[in-house]
């Protein structure tokens, strides 16, 4: 597909808005539809689209497997760290009330941080699944 001019140009146009839209869905998740899972899938779709167009080797230079293997557990770690932080503020696990000066802002911060963890794990898992399928029979 790397010689198809239409696909290549269209991909170039769409990649940046795709990543931007992922960030919008991520950060707007507090107020409207969206959140870490959906944003992670959109971001991963951008990487996968790039991989489909340029091939596996170039996309793995951009997003190496080693990075994914850190990101997949890393996202869970972020999630858990937020939950455990509540212990030290005298609350139950995943109770965000005391993360900020009042309960409403605390909950907002808690969900915001947790969603980042979700984003990291979901996006990296999607890409890792793509690599596993695309790289089958080569290694």
């Amino acid at each position: 597909m790397r010689f198809d001019i239409v696909l290549r140009v269209a991909t170039k146009f769409i990649l940046a808005p795709l990543l931007l839209f992922a960030l919008y869905v991520q950060f707007h998740g507090d107020y409207g539809p969206g959140g870490g899972f959906q944003a992670g899938v959109i971001a991963a779709a951008a990487v996968i689209l790039y991989g489909l167009i340029v091939g596996l080797a170039p996309v793995q230079r951009l997003v190496p497997m080693g990075l994914l293997e850190v990101m997949i557990p890393g996202g869970v770690l972020i999630y858990m760290a937020v939950g455990i932080a509540s212990f030290f503020l005298g609350d139950n696990f995943l109770d965000y009330d005391h993360l900020a000066h009042d309960a409403v802002h605390g909950q907002e911060w808690g969900v915001f941080l947790v969603e980042i963890g979700v984003f990291v794990t979901v996006s990296s898992t999607m890409v890792a699944i793509f690599y596993a399928f695309a790289g089958r029979g080569r290694s």
Binding site: E69, V70, P73, G74, N92, F93, D95, D97
Partner: protein, 493 residues
């Protein structure tokens, strides 16, 4: 601070361990993390048991939300019993795993193996700790997904097929369970088990509930390998890596039994027949079939792992029989057998794993006379085998004794006879193993073997020793099982 968070630490510690093991990407570091995490989990579990015995029910609100809105963890005598069992077996498995895993799994996958082992433990403990029907489903999936991976990591190519078979069956089971939970949610408007119980009282005779119970019982029966839904189990146990088999055989089906007991007794009430479905009669029939048919099939197997796996299906029959009897003595016997069977099957699978470690095979033909070169390992296997039969002086005798008393109490004398008769089948398949490994002339494989290393023998003999100890002085496990049975039957703890 720690004391008030114990119920959730039970899940956080192994989960955190799993994440750190994955991040380490180094086999030895991952093992060390797994060992420390499972030791800490066991400490938490015993602390919980101690607190439950002192204070009764412990409730913990995740995120501080009330049970109507959020997820509540509830630890009572039943959960504490299961949690202690699972975490102790997990700890012993970790000690055992290091040498065994190095021999069976390629180096770059070792860290992932420990990640999956810890995830599986976290999921199993979560099922026991949570008081939320849907949360239990989530943990069921966490442990199942980890289990599929663990089985697929076996070095035999058939491990992949076994894992795939279990994946299909396990997913069907989980789907049926979640359909049942959905129907309960429709009828009661809550997922919290405590609230479901309160609201069900006004909904007796609802057809949706009858259907929900049918879905839930069949779904969980797939997970606990109740005969005739056990087809996935023998291959999964036989081809998984030895350390994974030890953990799965001793804990996974046991936690499913816990979930079944939770629904039959706590949710649907002590009278376990709901609507037109005579669940206790069906359960007794299937349990008796499980006690006989898979045990009879075990006699004709040639792979020791498969013999033990089929024997597990048979032994699950005794446990579900205890549930079906639904009286204090019978239920105590069932839960006690759950506990004892975890110990004896753990010891047996550790022993056969050690044989595979040295001899490279679990085929009975190749193992003739191996008892002369690996006496300690084979002695542990023999003790576990005697306990499977139910020989006096082993823990298997005590639990079968309670089951027989329970059957007599329920006025089912013929059932007591069947329990004894089915033990004769265990004599045959255990006897076959014992005859080959002790009394035959050593084959070429056996002559070249040496005794298993101490790291494998130590956890194996802790379990084998416990099997004998609890056969002679059964007070502690009987006390735990009896108080769990009282809670399930609706009495005071």
């Amino acid at each position: 601070m720690i004391a008030s968070h114990l119920p959730v630490l039970l899940i956080i510690v192994p989960l955190l361990g799993a994440v750190l093991a994955a991040l380490s990407r180094h086999g030895f570091v991952a093992w060390l993390v797994a060992l420390l995490a499972s030791a800490a989990t066991m400490a938490v579990a015993f602390a919980l048991l101690w607190r439950v015995q002192a204070e009764g029910l412990i409730s913990y609100r995740i995120g501080g939300w009330a049970p109507e809105l959020g997820i509540e963890y509830r630890i009572d005598a039943v959960s504490a019993f299961i949690v202690v069992l699972v975490s102790a077996i997990a700890f012993l498995t970790m000690i055992y795993a290091r040498r065994s895993v190095l021999a069976e799994i390629s180096a770059e996958r070792v860290a992932w193996f420990y990640t999956m082992l810890l995830l599986c433990v976290a999921g199993l403990l979560g099922i026991a700790a949570t008081g939320d029907a849907f949360n239990a489903f989530v943990f069921l999936e966490v442990s199942s997904l980890a289990t599929y991976t663990l089985i697929a990591l076996g070095r035999d190519r058939r491990a992949l097929v076994a894992a795939y078979q279990y994946l299909i069956v396990g997913t069907i089971g989980a789907t049926l369970y979640v359909i049942g939970v959905g129907l309960i949610y429709l009828s009661t408007g809550t997922l919290n088990i405590g609230l479901i119980v309160e609201r069900l009282a006004s909904l007796q005779g609802s057809r949706a509930l009858t259907v929900a119970e049918a879905f839930i019982v069949v779904g969980i029966a797939l997970k606990l390998a109740l005969f005739p839904l056990h087809a996935w189990l023998p291959n999964a146990y036989a081809y998984a890596p030895s350390a994974a088999t030890v953990l799965l055989a001793s804990t996974a089906t046991k936690v499913a039994v816990y979930l079944l007991a939770r629904y039959l007794f706590t949710v649907f009430g002590g009278d376990i027949d709901v609507g037109a479905i005579p669940i206790s009669a069906i359960l007794i029939g299937l349990s008796v079939a499980a006690m006989f048919i898979p045990s009879a099939a075990a006699i004709f197997q040639n792979d020791v792992k498969r013999i033990l796996a089929l024997s597990s299906v048979g032994q699950i029959g005794y446990i579900t029989l205890g549930l079906a009897l639904a009286n204090q003595t019978g239920l105590t016997g069932g839960l006690l057998h759950l506990f004892n069977h975890a110990l004896m099957k753990g010891a047996a699978f550790m022993a056969i794993g050690a044989v595979v470690y040295r001899a490279g095979t679990a085929r009975l033909d190749d193992l003739s006379g191996i008892g002369r070169t690996m006496p300690w390992t084979v002695a542990a296997l023999t003790i576990a085998g005697l306990a499977l039969i139910g020989v006096p002086g082993t823990s298997g005798f005590v639990s079968k004794y309670y089951l027989i008393l329970g059957a007599l109490e329920a006025g089912l004398g013929w059932l007591a006879i069947l329990i004894v008769a089915s033990s004769l089948l265990a004599v045959l398949y255990v006897g076959r193993i014992v005859e080959v490994v002790w009394f035959r002339e050593p084959a070429a494989v056996a002559r070249e073997c040496r005794e298993a290393p101490l790291e494998l023998l130590l956890p194996m003999w802790i379990l084998a020793g416990a099997t004998i100890w609890f056969g002679i002085d059964a007070e502690w496990p009987v006390g735990l099982a009896a108080s769990a049975a009282r809670v399930l039957l609706g009495g005071a703890p």
